[in-house]
């Protein structure tokens, strides 16, 4: 048998082994992770994680306030206000665009709204009707 075939066989053997090993390990871990005790462990981990996060966040907030610096909640408030301003601007922009288009002045994004391909396409199996 030529060398190439042997190499291909070894390669194929390795690939099959990899797939099978992956499947077996996944099944093994999934069986463990599907137990109540693992579920409890995950729950405990998430609870500790949440408490840790909360503790850090409270301490950080206290420290920043001490140094008269903006905290995360201040930035979030600011961001919320900015979003409101953005939304209002967008609605004003949209109203202006409608007005501009109504009087025949194309706007910057008019190309998006003016893309008007013919909506007459029919599926290949269904021939187009004669005009």
């Amino acid at each position: 048998m030529p060398d190439n075939d042997n190499r291909a066989d070894v390669g194929q053997l390795w690939r099959s082994w990899l797939t099978e090993t992956e499947r077996q390990w996944n099944t093994f871990f999934n069986d463990i992770m599907g137990t109540d005790s693992f579920g409890r462990f995950v729950g405990g981990y998430i609870e500790t994680y949440s408490q840790f996060q909360r503790l850090i966040s409270q301490n950080m907030q206290r420290s920043l306030s001490t140094f008269n610096l903006p905290t995360r909640s201040d930035i979030v408030d600011l961001s919320e206000r900015l979003s409101t301003v953005e939304e209002r601007l967008a609605s004003i922009e949209s109203a202006l665009k409608t007005l501009a288009e109504a009087v025949g002045h194309p706007t910057q994004t008019a190309s998006v709204t003016q893309l008007r391909p013919r909506r007459t396409r029919r599926p290949r199996s269904q021939p187009a009707q004669a005009q």
């Binding site: 090993t21 996944n26 871990f29 995950v42 709204t113 396409r121 029919r122």
Partner: protein, 362 residues
């Protein structure tokens, strides 16, 4: 007299010219590209314009590539869990590009990356406010009353909720891909989020949005050996340009996780994972009942037999939930991603999807 050796006659030239050496040098070069993330693949490159924006949400319209399109536009509704470019991976490997070439007018609802101030956004916002507003924008720009909805993963769930609340919604056809509806079938996810040990409120109250790392790790834990096996397969195929390109594209998307809006997560776990209310017909969003039996438009339901994110048991009953007379189930052998972006998708799903939608979009 000394002989002058040209590169062709050098004793090393022969060695470097052998197939084995060339192959191994290629492997090293491509391996370094992957490790150093050199020439990172470009994703989501199909030309598009923003039609509407609110907060982090964007409604895109992809530029049609045919002079003539189907009458009814296609609106892709994305999941809240992942980035939308899985539907527009790279040229030649993009569902969006394929649909455009097939003559569809394609829109996409991209929820964006939620910011900390978005942690209060619940399903009410997405289903009762954002989706109807996006549909209105599509109607306005196309001049068509009807639309087709194509929802992937949780995007399908949002589409189902929207259509199940607004029975007069202008949805002509609906396509759901890898959409979980029966949360009793969610396997390990359900086990880990069991209310006996999972303090959901504490988690959401402490973190606001659920961090992407937490979501990613939970997906990874579903198949703990997969990552290492994928690396071994990559090593085996480093000589193959196409394999490496695809590997990098999918890997980029898998690791590119986004936070999950806190309030929506809370509802998803309480209403669906714990109570399985969609299946029981008891889901209430913002005081509106989701009555999936009231959905009567044609439905194409695409699901994967080996999906570990939205297991087959959780997706399979979808078509039994709707009242549509015309519904079709498409079952594939692949997984969650290959269903919509892998080889299965290019060769089987996309052509069938295009044909199914095309016949109903005139």
């Amino acid at each position: 007299m000394a002989t002058v050796r040209t590169p062709e006659t050098s004793p090393f030239a022969e060695v470097f010219e052998t197939e084995v050496v060339r192959r191994n040098l290629d492997r090293v070069r491509r391996g370094m590209d992957v490790i150093l993330d050199r020439e990172s693949p470009v994703v989501g490159a199909t030309p598009k314009d923003i039609l509407y924006a609110k907060g982090t949400q964007r409604l895109y319209r992809y530029r049609p590539v045919t002079d003539e399109v189907y009458r009814i536009p296609v609106v892709l509704v994305m999941s809240l869990i992942s980035k939308p470019y899985i539907l527009d991976l790279s040229p030649g490997q993009s569902l969006v590009e394929y649909l455009l070439r097939e003559g569809f007018d394609v829109f996409m609802v991209d929820w964006g990356v939620p910011r900390p101030e978005d942690s209060h956004l619940g399903l009410e916002y997405y289903v009762l406010d954002a989706l109807p507003r996006n549909v209105e924008e599509v109607q306005k720009v196309t001049g068509e009353r009807e639309i087709n909805i194509l929802g992937y993963c949780m995007g399908g769930l949002l589409g189902l909720m929207y259509n199940g609340i607004f029975h007069d919604a202008p949805v002509a056809n609906m396509v759901c891909a890898a959409t979980p509806v029966d949360f009793d079938g969610m396997g390990l996810f359900r086990r880990w989020s069991d209310r006996r040990w999972f303090d959901l409120d504490r988690l959401v109250d402490s973190l606001g949005n659920i961090p992407p790392d937490l979501i990613f790790r939970s997906f990874e834990m579903l198949r703990p050996a997969q990552r290492w096996a994928e690396y071994a397969r990559l090593l085996d195929n480093l000589h193959n340009d196409l394999y490496v390109k695809h590997w990098r594209l999918f890997n980029k998307w898998v690791y590119d996780q986004i936070p999950f809006p806190g309030q929506a997560y809370r509802q998803l776990i309480k209403e669906l994972m714990w109570e399985n209310k969609l299946m029981k017909g008891q889901l209430n969003i913002g005081g509106r009942m989701v009555d999936t039996k009231g959905i009567t438009c044609p439905l194409l339901h695409i699901m994967a037999e080996y999906d570990h994110i939205a297991p087959f048991a959780s997706t399979q009953p979808l078509s039994t939930l709707v009242g549509s007379e015309e519904k079709e189930d498409m079952i594939l052998k692949g997984g969650h991603v290959s269903l919509i972006a892998g080889r299965n998708a290019w060769s089987r799903v996309w052509p069938q999807l295009s044909q199914w939608l095309g016949e109903r979009s005139v």
